[in-house]
Structures are given as structure tokens and as C-alpha cells.
Symmetry: C2
Subunit: 211 residues, 2 copies
């Protein structure tokens, strides 16, 4: 996934000579804490935040140029960078948004933290049930009931707790991938649990075939 | 994981009677776009953003009370809510941060989008190699080389592309879980690929034992 697939291209921008009152009204109207400052060709030349606007008013300044951060101080990404580059920069620099440029330095979008939160959290929201369905489809010749039975057996072996196959099924219907990895102690452990179930169900299938 | 485990407890807060200039200087100093307004017992009574400060200056207002959003309009979470509640609210309401309250309505922290981005993105950054190591450890009696060989075979079966076991190993060393699920088309598909490899390696193990 590339930056251009997660960026917001409905951003606002301002120019250097714009006055602060007008700029402030626009940012408030569109609820933007930050906005790029661009030249007449939409190339990035600066960046302002609502904190800069407040400082400008406090200090009696008049235009965007007097409060903006110059281009060289601005964390930015290219539209063709991997999306994770934007994610890493947002969290490393603790900024709420970063401008996205094309190869000519033209601002083509903005990546905002809450959009990233939305994208990232989708993975955490996948139901564990969906993973078991996919697993069941992959394991030819194993029924859903056999899969739930193997899961219940493996849960008892690993945790010592007795659980009925129906209870296990209910649990994976209710829980998300995010909850499951927190509950099992991490991504690798979660997968190891699934692999163990897969192994058991395959072993039972092989044993059945031999009879 | 609970909200209190992901919240920032190094937040700033303001009171209703504070003047805007002072408040603005403090928010700028600590680089906060938002801050809770609290009473003398640190209970939440309002919320202000740097956009509100800018508006206040523009309109000649003087105190926090004149610009703040009242408590009933503020999206908040309880410290004992599941962390995902905070994540869902940040992205649903498109806010950069939300206050965290205890059962008495006292502000005990703030959840900010870039902290959430950092927490969420850790999962995406796990090396695929780590998952294979855990899988290898789980599959008793299967060597690492056998696992890589089965992976290369399965890749050819699924994609039609020939790949050497060493190349496969290099690929999983270089790639992250986030890249892998994007490349395979989603979490379920990624996992199905792993199960297919597990199944093949177990079948080969069983066949070997029979000889």
C-alpha cells in the first residue's frame, strides 16, 4: 500500500500573503489543526498549525508568512512512498498530519493521524471467526465440528481449562483479532496456537484415514 | 488492554478562569492542540482546542470559559474501558485526542492519535520471520530447512512463481507482517498461506516416518 492510498486529498491550503484572520476562519470552518502553505503552482513552501495562528494573534502579527514553518523544517512524504513510511513519521515526530508531495514538490494530499488510526484499526477488528473459516476452507476433508473439537482440546492442553467446542465457537464469534493477540500474548503466540490446532486436526485426519 | 495502558498521563489542563494569552503560551510550550478544562478537583468541565484559542483572540475574548466546549459535547472514555473503545472513538469522531476519566469524572489522562498510531503500528512492524520461527518451534520434528522448502513449494503452487528456499527465507527476513498481509490480500489469506505450508510440512513428515 502506498501513501497515496491512505492520504486525504480533500485538504485545504493557504498562501504566504493571506492574512491571519481569514486563515483562522478557514481552518476553523474545515476543522483543520494544520495546513500546508503553497505557492501559485501548489508547491509546498511552508506549514502552519492552529498553535501558530494563536501565537500570531497574541503577538500582533498579520500574515501567514510571519508565522509559517519553512519547508526545510517540515516532515513530509512522497505519494509513492510505502504507506508505512507515513505511519512511522507521524508517530516518530508526534505530529497530527503530514503533507504528501509528488515528484515535483506539489502538495497532492495530507495524511492525518485519525485516518491512519482508522486504517490500522481495521486489522484489529477482524473477527477471529473469519480466520477459522478461512482455515476450515483450506483444510480439505476436515469439518467445522472437527475443527472446533480440536480447538477445544488444544485449549485444554495449553491452558488447563476445559472448554466445550460450542463454547469455543462462541468465543471466536465474539472476539476480534486485536483482542485475541492481546489475550494470547502477541502475534507470534496467537499464530502458534492456530498452527497447533491445525497440526492436531491434520493428525486426527491422517489417523482416521488409516483406519 | 485497557485505555489506561495506552493513555498519556503527562497531559496539561486548564481552569475556566484562566486567560487566553496564558493558556495559549502553555499549549504552545507543550505542543498540545487540545486540553481539558477542569475544576479544582480535576473533574472534567470542558475542552478547548487551539482552533478555539485562535477564534477567541480573533473575537477579542479573554478567558477559557468564553471559548470552551461544555462537558456534554465532549467525547471521552473511562480509564477501564477497553483500549479499542478509545481507538474507535478517535477515528469515528475524527478528533486528535480524547480525555480519559475515572469513575468520579476526574481527568486521569488523554489518549492522542499519534500514541495510538504508535501502539497500533507495532503489530504491523513484526517481522514475518518471527512468525515462521514460532511456527518452526511448534512443529516438532520439522527442521528449519524443511519448513523453508515447503514454503517455497507452496509459493510455487499458489503463485506459479519459482522461488528457492533461500530466497523465501530472505523474503521473510526482509518483510513485515503489515507488508505480508497487504501482499497476500488480507489477514485471513495470509494465515491460510501459513496453514497450507504447515499442512504440507506435516504431510511430508508423516510420509517420511512411514518409509
Amino acid at each position: 500500500m502506498k501513501v497515496k492510498e491512505i492520504m486525504d486529498n480533500e485538504f485545504i491550503s493557504v498562501n504566504m500573503d493571506q492574512n491571519l484572520a481569514e486563515t483562522s476562519i478557514m481552518m476553523e470552518k474545515y476543522k483543520k489543526f494544520t495546513t500546508p502553505v503553497v505557492d501559485e503552482k501548489m508547491r509546498l513552501i511552508g506549514w502552519i498549525t492552529s498553535l501558530d495562528i494563536a501565537r500570531g494573534f497574541r503577538d500582533g502579527l498579520k500574515t501567514v508568512q510571519e508565522i509559517m514553518h519553512p519547508k526545510e523544517d517540515i516532515v513530509h512524504v512522497n505519494e509513492n512512498d510505502p504507506a508505512r513510511m507515513a505511519v512511522l513519521k507521524l508517530s516518530k515526530h508526534k505530529v497530527v498530519s503530514i503533507p504528501v508531495l509528488d515528484d515535483e514538490g506539489v502538495v497532492v494530499g495530507v495524511v492525518r493521524t485519525f485516518d491512519v488510526v482508522e486504517t490500522l484499526s481495521q486489522l484489529y477488528e477482524v473477527k477471529v471467526y473469519k480466520i477459522f473459516e478461512a482455515m476450515n476452507e483450506e483444510l480439505k476433508g476436515v469439518s467445522w465440528d472437527e475443527l472446533m473439537e480440536a480447538s477445544a482440546i488444544m485449549t485444554r492442553r495449553r491452558t488447563g481449562k476445559r472448554i466445550k467446542p460450542e463454547e469455543y465457537e462462541q468465543r471466536i464469534r465474539d472476539s476480534t483479532f486485536g483482542e485475541a493477540i492481546w489475550a494470547t500474548g502477541g502475534l507470534e503466540k496467537f499464530f502458534v496456537g492456530l498452527i497447533a490446532i491445525g497440526e492436531l486436526v491434520i493428525a486426527r485426519k491422517v489417523a482416521r484415514a488409516r483406519k
